[in-house]
């Protein structure tokens, strides 16, 4: 059978800085044109690509693959590796710079949940609008309307404008529409990162069903576990190049061992969040520093033992005075699974009042019961219930194998250790 998706020497080049149109006013272009033509004149027209010219970056470089009908493929890579660019080309949002892709079948792409939702329209109206935007006909939406509503579990709110929806409800409505698309090729970006766990499971289940019915899915997620569970095949992107292709499990192992493990060395107790790499464009660099100390208050330089205490100092800046701010620290395994989430608004006696400017918030976690291994520490700043800054890979924490239970046995299986008692009757 002919492959459904074939990519040949696919490359995409971006002009650096071109994504900031505010600097790209007509005056700058005119001035730049004038300056370069003057320079060319002065140098006797010999100037080719000089340093004052635009700088280019290859977001994708010579990527080749081909997928058969029924393949469920996970695309894995760190932020900025080219995953989104690849999906954007496959979804026809942007053209490749070189190479081509051949797609056989009707494509639906889901780079965002609820694309085209308008806050002033009701749930019912948005179901139709979103469905048609995603490629369904009006008649199709009409015939699946009841199913969509049932899947979303939002019967009671159908005639409420979606601006009054919680973010969870918004995602549910958006995914409910998307889940009823009927394409031969489905392209899904990190859309499941939002929404509650139960609904995420439901969506993954729906995608699993979809894959079993012989259709092709391309799936991007940071949650490597989800990729392994859902996909049979996997590709790994690294700095715009395809560095691994194979079954999903080997791709995940390759990624965890070769890419994500070597990205950052563990060890230093202090992380500069200000200059952290891979901050997504929607976030402001307001988190400035994360420091880790052990129970005795000494900097946490190397590994720590299972069940030791830890203190995380999160430094950040409040641009405007606020009483409703929250720091979050997540401990994430290298497969992208959040193992433990600490949030300052879990503190019951939190009565910090209005603050502004530079802040330091300290999180004390006694006896952190993680099993041995390496963990990625994420930091986030939330103001008025909205995440304003988020650093995905703030630093690494290594838990060394140690005799937690005092029996000479080193626990390694599972996510956490816990006191337990056993009796034989």
């Amino acid at each position: 059978m002919a492959p459904v998706i074939e990519a040949h020497h696919l490359s995409k080049k971006y002009q650096l800085g071109a994504s900031r149109p505010r600097e790209d006013s007509l005056r700058d272009v005119l001035m730049h044109g004038l300056r370069t033509s003057l320079q060319t004149l002065r140098r006797g027209a010999s100037a080719g690509q000089n340093s004052s010219g635009p700088r280019w970056m290859w977001a994708l470089r010579d990527v080749n693959f081909s997928f058969e009908p029924g393949d469920v493929v996970g695309i894995i890579g760190v932020n900025g590796a080219g995953k989104s660019t690849l999906l954007k080309i496959l979804s026809r949002i942007t053209d490749p710079t070189e190479g081509y892709v051949r797609l056989r079948g009707r494509v639906a792409s889901l780079l965002e949940v609820g694309t085209g939702f308008h806050p002033d329209l009701t749930g019912r109206e948005n179901i139709f609008l979103n469905g048609v935007i995603l490629g369904m006909t009006k008649a199709e939406v009409q015939s699946k309307f009841d199913e969509i509503v049932a899947f979303s579990e939002l019967e009671k709110f159908l005639d409420t404008p979606v601006k009054h929806y919680s973010s969870g409800m918004y995602v549910r409505l958006g995914f409910a529409v998307a889940a009823h698309l009927d394409p031969e090729i489905l392209i899904v970006d990190e859309v499941l990162a939002v929404g509650d766990m139960a609904f995420q499971k439901k969506c993954l289940g729906k995608m699993g069903e979809f894959g079993e019915s012989g259709r092709t899915i391309l799936f991007v997620s940071h949650n490597i576990t989800a990729v392994v569970n859902l996909c049979q095949r996997g590709i790994v992107l690294q700095q715009g190049q395809l560095t691994f292709q194979g079954d999903a499990k080997s791709a995940a192992d390759y990624y965890v061992g070769e890419v994500s493990g070597k990205e950052k060395k563990s060890g230093s107790h202090m992380a500069d969040l200000w200059n952290a790499r891979g901050r997504l464009p929607q976030y402001h660099p307001w988190l400035s520093k994360l420091e880790l100390y052990n129970g005795e208050g000494n900097p946490l330089e190397e590994e720590m033992a299972i069940g030791s205490s830890i203190r995380a100092h999160v430094h950040f800046r409040l641009q405007e005075s606020s009483a409703n701010f929250e720091a979050r620290v997540n401990f994430v395994d290298l497969y992208g699974q959040v193992i433990f989430a600490a949030r300052s608004n879990y503190e019951r006696d939190r009565n910090w009042g209005e603050r502004s400017g530079q802040q330091e918030i300290i999180c004390e976690i006694p006896n952190l019961p993680l099993t041995p291994g390496e963990y990625r520490v994420e930091a986030a700043l939330v103001i008025d219930e909205k995440c304003v800054d988020y650093v995905e890979d703030a630093c690494r924490l290594k838990i060394a194998g140690s005799d937690f239970y005092g029996t000479g046995k080193i626990p390694s299986l599972g996510f956490f250790v816990h006191k337990q008692s056993w009796q034989l009757k």
Binding site: L26, R27, L103, L121
Partner: protein, 274 residues
């Protein structure tokens, strides 16, 4: 769409014609985008549809007072309020179409960067939504004619022609300006200014005979001058300057066709730079 659809995604360069087949296939989406724009406008404003008539009506009152009563501008026949209003209805539609459509792509960043469909739908849908206002406005002109006991003439059958000419000109400009606005946000500031100037270089508030004969053909480069003159005469009677109407129609068609090509050429970069 057939399941055997095969799609080749490759770099595009140079000038390309618009893909009419694709536009026809997704016509339902166009309808929904128009419907969305109308719906939102009615939900977000208290006056809703009344804005369609409020704008040209107020302008008519102000112009009647200042240009007719104080400055003494006379019409070529009909009472000044009727004269001004008939011109303003078409002009307001044109002005609102150009300004709304030129901001439409930037205002729909989410759609541009997250999903594919024919991009021309975005500026064109914002104009389509304004058609409702235009229809209400035209009905109001007829209502005013009844009030002034002004006879309806058979020329009224030509109204669709002038509406189409206006639509083509507004769409052409809207396509070009919305595409430019993606790279150069200057457009946002320039458009209101030029629209304001446009009102005075089009025969909206004064009749054509105020323009010296030797400049009349120059007016043909302004698509709206011929459309307004023709539209007004088709409703209120009087002899139309057909040469001017034809020149303006030609300009409108030219604007529309070049708008389609320019938009098509620039749309490839929208998602990368918006």
């Amino acid at each position: 769409m057939k399941s055997s659809a095969e799609l080749l995604l490759r770099p595009h360069t140079g000038w390309q014609p618009i893909d009419l087949r694709e536009i026809y296939q997704s016509r339902e989406l166009f309808g929904f985008l128009v419907w969305r724009d109308i719906k939102i406008r009615y939900k977000q404003t208290i006056l809703g549809g009344l804005w369609a008539v409020f704008q040209p009506l107020t302008a008519m009152l102000v112009f009647t007072l200042f240009f007719n009563r104080l400055a003494g501008i006379q019409t070529d026949g009909p009472p000044y309020p009727l004269f001004a209003f008939s011109g303003l209805v078409l002009w307001t539609f044109f002005a609102n179409s150009v300004s709304l459509s030129s901001n439409s792509l930037v205002g729909n960043q989410g759609l541009v960067s997250k999903i594919y469909f024919p991009r021309v739908f975005i500026p064109l849908a914002s104009i389509g939504a304004l058609m409702l206002d235009l229809v209400i406005g035209i009905l109001l002109v007829f209502a005013m004619m009844i009030y002034y006991r002004w006879p309806v003439v058979p020329g009224a059958l030509l109204i669709p022609v002038y509406v189409l000419g206006t639509l083509l000109a507004a769409s052409g400009l809207g396509l070009i300006l919305s595409a430019l606005n993606v790279s150069f946000r200057d457009v946002k500031y320039a458009v209101p200014f030029f629209i304001q100037m446009g009102l005075f270089v089009s025969p909206v508030i004064y009749p054509l005979n105020y323009i010296p004969a030797r400049y009349k053909l120059l007016l043909g480069f302004n698509p709206m001058s011929g459309m307004i003159v023709g539209f007004r005469h088709s409703m209120l009677g009087g002899s139309t300057d057909w040469a001017l109407v034809m020149a303006s129609l030609a300009t409108s068609v030219f604007l529309f066709v070049s708008g389609l090509f320019i938009f098509r050429r620039m749309e490839r970069r929208f998602a990368d730079i918006i």
